[in-house]
Structure formats: structure tokens, C-alpha cells
Symmetry: C2
Subunit: 197 residues, 2 copies
DNA sequence: TAGATTGTTAATCGATTAACAATC
DNA sequence: TAGATTGTTAATCGATTAACAATC
């Protein structure tokens, strides 16, 4: 559930002096209701101690476990433009169990270039490399018109989780989770706010 | 409201043969309930015709109007790394009334570089340029540690809408809308899905 | 008129929160 | 024991949806 990663991050914002934290504290940092926190944590079977709170280290472990951050996930980025390169380089992935194992591009002039320790590989090798390097998450950073095709190829290669940055809506295949980061929608929501405040 | 941009985009997916569309059609494309569509549209006073549907051109106009896409919004990007450069270049902004009017960086070696028609300007000039170029939306594409400071400076300069790409949670100031694009949270949600499906 | 589709009400559903007994 | 805080139930709230009269 989408609040768990937030709690996990909030644990880092706690004073290092304490080894335990209350649902109230966590709720204040996360900006949600304390009852919400307790319900979410109880849902993933993270237990606290009445009158005391939650053990921070244990809670961190339980959150990481619930989020599947014990494993390491192989990530492939498709599209080695500015965005793809930025993503390959994104510091937020490090330490959360995500490993960018490939970056692809159709453009032959880009293939072979180095992008942050990775060599850009030809899109034609997608299926092969996805299988060989156990890639389970695909990030689509191509132009809009290429996005659906790339997504289809990822799905055929066995990828079941896709993060889409192209300003295109992808057909959803059964069993495949697609999340979309849609920058113009984000800006439109901000614009809506500017008008109504 | 967050579904309006989606409807707007869906209008483009309609067959060009029709000049009118039903809430059912729109709902199918947007992946929501028809009653939802009707309620949302009625909320922004976009009226349809019983037995006929909504006039597509009129609806597009009304959606753009409700979303404030009549105006042009000045956007500043802070951070001229790969991500900032990718954003300056993002094709999804064009045609939606967003105009990137400045890109800043602290790094003196980056200042003066050209990033897609814009010259990278020194962060010290932020306040000045935000005011002079009527910038109303700020995009934070800095490293995490710099994000809060940059956001504070944007707010002091009068910016009321911030899109944050740094993996940091920003303190929220009253009247300021902050939206966060958090790539590691997105990946964590995908990882959660991989585990539970 | 018959068929289609809106606009809106009322019912449903789910998510959030208040409250409190349990208990450290 | 007194104070704090959990875990969970029940109440609340809001959002979604079904249903249907209005009407083109």
C-alpha cells in the first residue's frame, strides 16, 4: 500500500536519540492521522508495545520486508535521452534495492555511449538482455510514439512492472502493473491550484 | 480536480468522425465510471445534451478553461543536471500552456551552458529572474540536500506551486502547493506489486 | 414516439478517524 | 499506581456508483 514507503522514509527523520517511536510521532512526520499509522502497521503485522511505541529498527525491518526491499530488483531503462540518463543516475534508487542493469536506445549513434557506468545497448537486444540479467522492472523513457511498442516488448519479455515517463497512456495487460509519471498532468494540477487559491 | 486533465487527454483519443461524445465513451477511455464523468463535468459546469452527449470541441474548451490552460504559466527549473535538462526538453509541456522560462544551477561551470534554447543562469539570480519573467511554477531538480533551501527561496520569491523531483520531503508553507514526483517510491510500489502478484 | 443520454438523487461502498479498553 | 500508547471497534465522512426522471 502506497503509504508504507512514506513511513519507511519518515523513520530516518526521527531523532537518532530515540530507539522507539509512537504512532503520533510518525503520523506528524508523515502528515497523516495516528490511527491511520497504527492501522497500516497492524495490517503488515508490525506490532508495537502499548505505552511505549514501536521499536524503530524492528519497524524499519518490517517495512522493508513488507515492501519487498529485501530482494534486489533488476531495472532496465529504455531510452537513453536526457531523461533516461537522468534516471540511470538517480540517487534515490541506491540503497532501496533497485539496480539499473541496462539502458537501451534505438539510435545507433547512442549505442555504445557510456551513461553512468552502463553502456547504452541496442533496443533489438531488449528481450535477450531482460532475460539474461533478470530484469523485473522496466522504465519507459522513450518518446511518446514509441512507448506502447516498448511496453509490449517488455511484457512479452516477462516484465510485470512498468514505470512510464512518456506522455502516453499504455494499454494495460493482465497481471502487469503500470505506473505513470505524467509531468504535464502534474503541472496541470499545479496550474489548477494557482487558479483556485 | 485530478481527473480533469485525464478527460482532456482522452478527448484526443476519440474517433475524429464524431463531434459529440457520451459520458459512457469518455468513461471507457479514461477507465472510470460514467456517472463519475457526468458528475465531474457537471461540477465544472460543462453541460451536455440529453440523448446526444457532450460537444467535443466545447468540452475541450471548458476543460481547458477549468484547468486554467487558457493562460500561459511561466516555469523555472532549478538544477541543470540530467534531470533538469530532460525536463527543459520535455515534449509533454508544449501546447499545454507551460513555458520554461529559466533554468538555474549553482555550479559556475554549468552557468552559461545552453540547455535546449535556454541559457543556464546562476542560482543567485533566482529571486530577480522569477519576478522579472513572471514565473509561477518552480520545478526542483536539485540534489536532495539542496531541495529545501531552493524551495524556500522560490516561496520567498512568490512562487506558489512547486513540483519536486528531489528525493526529499519539503516542509509545506501555507498557500503553497507542493507536488512530489518520487521515483523511488514509485519503484517501491512496483516492487510491492511484484511480491504480491 | 422510441431510443439515447444527461443530470442528480439516493444508496453503497470504502477509507478515515474518534474513541476507548487493553496493557505496557 | 499513574501515564502513555497500542490495537481495534464503531462512527463518520467522503467518494463512488446505481438508478431513474427529465428531456433531447
Amino acid at each position: 500500500m502506497a503509504r508504507l514507503p512514506v513511513y519507511l522514509r519518515c523513520l530516518s527523520d526521527l531523532p537518532t536519540s530515540q530507539s522507539t517511536c509512537s504512532s503520533d510521532q510518525l503520523a506528524a512526520i508523515a502528515g497523516v492521522n495516528p490511527a491511520q499509522v497504527r492501522k497500516d502497521l497492524s495490517h503488515i503485522d508490525a506490532r508495537g508495545v502499548r505505552g511505549v511505541g514501536y521499536d524503530i529498527d524492528e519497524l524499519r525491518r518490517e517495512l522493508r520486508h513488507a515492501l519487498g526491499l529485501i530482494k534486489t530488483y533488476g531495472v532496465a531503462i529504455i531510452g537513453a535521452g536526457h531523461l533516461g540518463t537522468a534516471l540511470a543516475n538517480y540517487p534515490g534508487f541506491v540503497g532501496w534495492g533497485f539496480e539499473v542493469r541496462a539502458i537501451f536506445d534505438v539510435d545507433p549513434t547512442k549505442v555504445g555511449e557510456e551513461a553512468d557506468g552502463l553502456v547504452v545497448e541496442p533496443l533489438t537486444d531488449l528481450e535477450l538482455i531482460v532475460a539474461k540479467r533478470s530484469i523485473s522492472i522496466g522504465i519507459v523513457a522513450t518518446p511518446s510514439y514509441a512507448a506502447q511498442d516498448v511496453a509490449d516488448r517488455l511484457v512479452r519479455s516477462g516484465v510485470r512492472s512498468i514505470l512510464n515517463f512518456a506522455p502516453a497512456i499504455l494499454r494495460r495487460a493482465p497481471g502487469v502493473e503500470v505506473r505513470r509519471v505524467d509531468l504535464s498532468t502534474e503541472l496541470q494540477i499545479l496550474a489548477f491550484h494557482l487558479q483556485h487559491a
